[in-house]
């Protein structure tokens, strides 16, 4: 590996930094996007199988760095089950049969180090069972017992994100003796239209407060909301240009320990689109209106002059001024010097200037 010529490390004021943080264990939480349709479109570049393998290697390497390191894996965006825990599996009243069945499946190399093997096996089994539950036919998507959402399935990435955050919060509060640092890695294939803006921003701010960094491994299309999330939590947003080298991305750029983050120059995408989306129309806008009570962003003035979120009535006078169309005077056409210059530009301003202001 050739050495990086420019500094990859920023100068640290004095030596204390590294000493304290050497031994802190860290928790890596992975959120895997299982949207089948998206995976279909990416089939040429990368399959779900490949990414699971790379993920497992990454999990193993994370566990090997420190004996107290832990991992957690969630799935999101699957049609039937939404956001689900993959590892650690929450205790359920499991059928003993299925439990036995699971314990016998050896999906990975049986001679692998036991600690890794257990985790890998259980992750793969769980993903498999989630996929098993997906509807087989296209028509069946979106049909749950009640026919309320016809063919509509909500995106659950944010749901998985909040589950991860609550888990992290629990882990951090129960481990009194050791201070454990956490980070989240989102492997996402879907784009912004599946992300509800408000919930996404809420999760981002929560992660910011908890000092949990969110890294994003993006396949498919770029997503502005995820970029913003990475930026505000000091995470790495990586758009994968070379999917066959995915393991390289996962084990270097997206692998940075929370204790190293203040020191390292992060290989993140710095051209961030900071635009927000309107709460009403969910278009992405850069100039808009803001409700002064609940601070919601609107791209148009609502018809009923009420804020859609907090239902506060807007002042009709101000609404009128906002809705009013701008008036202009027509430009003076410079007539040639055929007629005398004095009389040229005095034209019918007065008649035309009276455009009705709505």
């Amino acid at each position: 590996m050739d050495a990086i010529a420019d500094r990859a490390f920023e100068n640290v004021p004095s030596g204390n930094v590294l000493k304290e943080q050497d031994e802190t264990p860290s928790l890596l939480t992975v959120i895997l996007d299982l949207n089948p349709l998206q995976w279909r479109s990416l089939k040429a570049d990368i399959t779900l199988k490949d990414i699971s393998k790379s993920l497992l290697v990454m999990l193993n390497s994370h566990l090997s760095l420190n004996s107290s390191n832990t991992v957690a894996v969630l799935s999101s965006n699957s049609y039937k089950s939404g956001a689900q825990w993959i590892y650690p599996k929450p205790l359920e009243t499991d059928d003993t049969e299925t439990a036995k069945q699971r314990s016998h499946a050896h999906l990975v190399n049986p001679t692998m180090y036991r600690g890794f093997r257990i985790i890998n096996d259980s992750v793969l089994e769980e993903i498999s069972s989630i996929l098993d539950m997906e509807p087989d036919r296209f028509q069946d998507i979106g049909k749950r017992g009640k026919d309320d959402s016809k063919g509509k399935v909500k995106g659950t990435l944010v749901g998985a994100l909040s589950m991860a955050l609550t888990y992290i919060n629990r882990v951090q509060n129960t481990n009194d003796s050791t201070s454990i640092k956490s980070r989240i890695l989102i492997v996402s294939t879907s784009d912004d239209l599946t992300l509800p803006y408000i919930s996404m921003m809420n999760c981002t701010f929560a992660a910011q407060k908890m000092k949990v960094s969110i890294d994003v491994c993006k396949l498919g299309t770029d997503s502005t909301f995820l970029q913003q999330a990475c930026d505000s939590t000091n995470g790495v947003y990586m758009y994968i240009n070379h999917p066959s080298g995915l393991i390289q991305y996962l084990t270097t750029a997206l692998f940075i320990d929370p204790s190293l983050r203040p020191i390292m120059v992060l290989p993140t995408n710095t051209n961030i689109d900071f635009r927000a989306s309107c709460f009403l129309t969910s278009k992405i806008i850069d100039i808009g209106f803001v409700c002064s009570v609940c601070l919601c962003i609107l791209s148009i003035v609502p018809h009923d002059e009420k804020c859609p979120i907090c239902h506060s009535q807007f002042d009709p006078k101000i609404v009128k001024t906002l809705k009013a169309k701008p008036r202009t005077l027509p430009l003076i056409r410079k007539k040639r010097k055929l007629d005398s210059g004095a009389g040229a530009s005095e034209e019918t301003d007065t008649s035309r200037a009276a455009t009705p202001a709505k």
Partner: protein, 657 residues
């Protein structure tokens, strides 16, 4: 202490030599011990002395020769008009010599002053002090002193106050450059320019109007020792005024002494006196001669406030007697307004008794309470405290008169127990949210369009069964990096990551972080602060993006003028629905200016291109590309403004310009 005495011999007769400065003019008297001698007394009037000669320090004899001007003054008259004293001890001789030198110097100086006064009095100019130098004034700045804050910050007045605007422009270079470019070269209305900068004008006006507070003048007066045994001190009229304000004692001394001795003399005496040193807060050297006249005021009431009442003389009165040189028998009672003078009975004096707790600091009382010791330190402390009290009073800040009722009320409230009271719950306004945020996140609707065939129903089932089959079979983790294709991918990925890191590192070195981390711990804070303080005036980093400062400056100028115009354009545009005709005309003018701005941006880029054509191909192109990149956002916003305006124009006029 005011009279210097020493044993000396005159004409081989032993006697006592003493310097009497209380008489005017000061006199050197030699009295013979031996009464039987013919010449009992020799008096030399010190204002007539012209020369003083002393034997050098190395010789055995110690003699002092005094030569006077007026032979008739000495008694008895000696033809040579000189008197010679011989001393036994060198120390005495040197002391007397020093004193005489001082007197002579003073006299010479006052002579000079008198002469110059005679010269200048014809022309009518005020007499400069004996050793004065014109220096900066201390007092409040001249100018619009009477303006209250409200009148200062009135926006209308600020807009009209061209003088103030000029001053502000002079002091702020960047603003001046923008102003020149925008108003003078491109024709923006100056009133428009200032209308968005009212806050700058306001703060500048307030800043200018601030006066410097009074401070201890005496600490600024530093005697400078010059040649000829003279000590020069510079005072101006203003400083003298301040001295009188801050030290009423000096004023009193001045009032008493000046009719008799000249002003120059008074001041030179004052600055060499012990009174001066005491007021300054320096320790009084007991061996220092000081000044006879002025040191009387050392013992005067230091709390003297400048107000006096004349009281009938009565020997039993408790007032401080002061003997003024005129020796008037009137005893004056000094009225002082200090807190300490309100007499409180020691039994009920709670505050005093609290302070008097000897157990506070061990068994010994506080240093200020020890009798007899630390007099010097104490006097210095007292002087300083007195001065500070006086200065604070003179600032004229209103200290509210303590309304005794109000005070009592406050005290009562403090004593009440509030813990058992019911706490006030803060009331919050409830905002009812309707969470419909997930309405728009639909996974199915947003099927990526590049999936072929278009109709998902066909391939869906097939694909899904494939998916489900993935994890039924064992997997080999080594496949992650085994194949050649994977290796190639890995290499490419690592290159990309490196590139990103390098780019980010370079960017961060231009930014704020580099400064934060490049200094050591101790100075890092200061460097951050410096950076934030000097942000506005910071010079552009010459190596910024590889462009030279001239280009940067050009680009910056174009940029700031365009931004200025855009600012005013949008302000006008957004209000145009309700604006009157004049504003609309202005708006139109701004629109034309915006068009010109765009042209200007293009011209600048072309200019840069021209300039860098000669440079080596790569570099030149790089520079031009960078410049274009820098100006890109600006052109976008200019375009948008033009578009919006044209859109608004469409319905009214069929023919656009």
């Amino acid at each position: 202490m005011s009279a210097i005495k020493g044993a000396a011999a005159y004409k081989k007769k032993a006697g006592m030599l003493s310097l009497n400065e209380e008489v005017i003019p000061p006199v050197l008297v030699w009295r013979c011990i031996d009464d039987t001698v013919a010449i009992p007394l020799v008096e030399v009037q010190l204002d007539k002395i012209t020369n003083l000669k002393a034997t050098p320090a190395t010789s055995e004899k110690m003699m002092l020769k005094i030569i006077t001007n007026d032979p008739a003054a000495t008694v008895p008259a000696t033809p040579s008009s000189e008197v010679v004293f011989s001393f036994n001890s060198r120390a005495t001789m040197e002391e007397i010599q020093r004193a005489l030198q001082q007197v002579i110097a003073r006299r010479k100086a006052s002579l000079l002053a008198a002469e110059s006064a005679r010269e200048l009095s014809l022309s009518g100019t005020p007499v400069p002090q004996a050793d004065t130098k014109r220096s900066q004034s201390l007092g409040p700045q001249s100018g619009s002193d009477e303006e209250t804050l409200a009148t200062l910050t009135d926006p209308q007045k600020l807009l009209r106050n061209h003088q103030l605007q000029q001053k502000l422009l002079m002091s702020n270079k960047k603003l001046m450059a923008t102003f020149k470019e925008v108003v003078m070269n491109s024709g923006l209305d100056p009133e428009e320019f200032w209308s968005t900068r009212i806050n700058l004008l306001r703060s500048f006006a307030v800043q200018n109007n601030q006066k410097r507070g009074s401070y201890n003048v005496l600490s600024t007066i530093k005697p400078v020792a010059s040649s000829d045994n003279e000590v020069n001190v510079s005072v101006t009229r203003e400083k003298i005024h301040e001295i009188f304000n801050q030290y009423p004692i000096v004023r009193k001394a001045y009032d008493d002494c000046v009719p008799k001795i000249s002003e120059g003399d008074f001041w030179s005496r004052f600055f060499s006196s012990k009174l001066f040193r005491k007021l300054r807060g320096e320790k009084i050297n007991p061996y220092d001669r000081g000044d006879v006249m002025l040191d009387k005021y050392l013992y005067a009431d230091a709390d003297y406030d400048g107000e006096e009442e004349e009281v009938e003389t009565s020997p039993s009165s408790k007032t401080h007697p002061t003997t003024s040189p005129s020796g008037s028998p009137v005893q004056k009672k000094h009225k002082s307004k200090n807190i300490d003078d309100i007499h409180i009975n020691k039994i009920i004096d709670v505050m005093g008794n609290e302070e008097d707790n000897s157990q506070k600091l061990g068994n010994a009382p506080d240093i200020t309470m020890r009798a007899g010791k630390n007099q010097d330190m104490l006097s210095i402390m007292k002087t300083m405290n007195r001065l500070s009290r006086r200065m604070l009073k003179s600032t004229g800040v209103d200290i509210e008169e303590e309304d005794p009722e109000k005070e009592e009320q406050e005290n009562e409230e403090e004593l009440e127990l509030n813990d058992l009271r019911e706490t006030h719950e803060t009331e919050y306004n409830e905002i009812n949210f309707k969470v419909n945020s997930n309405k728009h996140s639909d996974l199915i609707k947003n099927i990526p369009k590049d999936s072929s065939p278009l109709n998902p129903q066909e391939w869906y089932a097939e694909f899904l069964s494939e998916l489900k089959g993935y994890f039924k079979v064992g997997i080999d983790l080594q496949e992650v990096y085994n194949s050649d294709e994977k290796k190639k991918g890995i290499r490419e990925a690592s290159h990309e990551i490196e590139r990103l890191v390098r780019q980010n590192a370079r960017q961060s070195s231009h930014g704020w972080h580099a400064i934060k981390f490049s200094a050591s711990d101790a100075s890092s804070l200061s460097s951050i602060q410096d950076q934030s303080v000097h942000n506005e005036d910071a010079e552009v980093d010459p190596s910024f993006l590889g462009l030279d400062p001239a280009t940067i400056e050009q680009l910056r100028l174009t940029h700031s003028t365009s931004v200025e115009f855009l600012c005013h354009f949008w302000l006008g545009f957004n209000e145009s629905a309700t604006a009157d005709k004049a504003k609309l005309v202005q708006l139109r003018k701004l629109y034309l200016s915006i068009k010109k701005c765009q042209d200007r941006v293009g011209a600048t880029i072309n200019n840069i291109e021209e300039r860098f054509k000669n440079v080596k191909n790569e570099d030149g192109e790089l520079v031009v590309a960078k410049a274009r990149e820098l100006m890109d956002p600006l052109s976008v916003s200019l375009d948008r403004a033009i578009q919006k305006y044209q859109l608004a124009m469409m319905p009214t006029s069929g023919n656009n310009a």
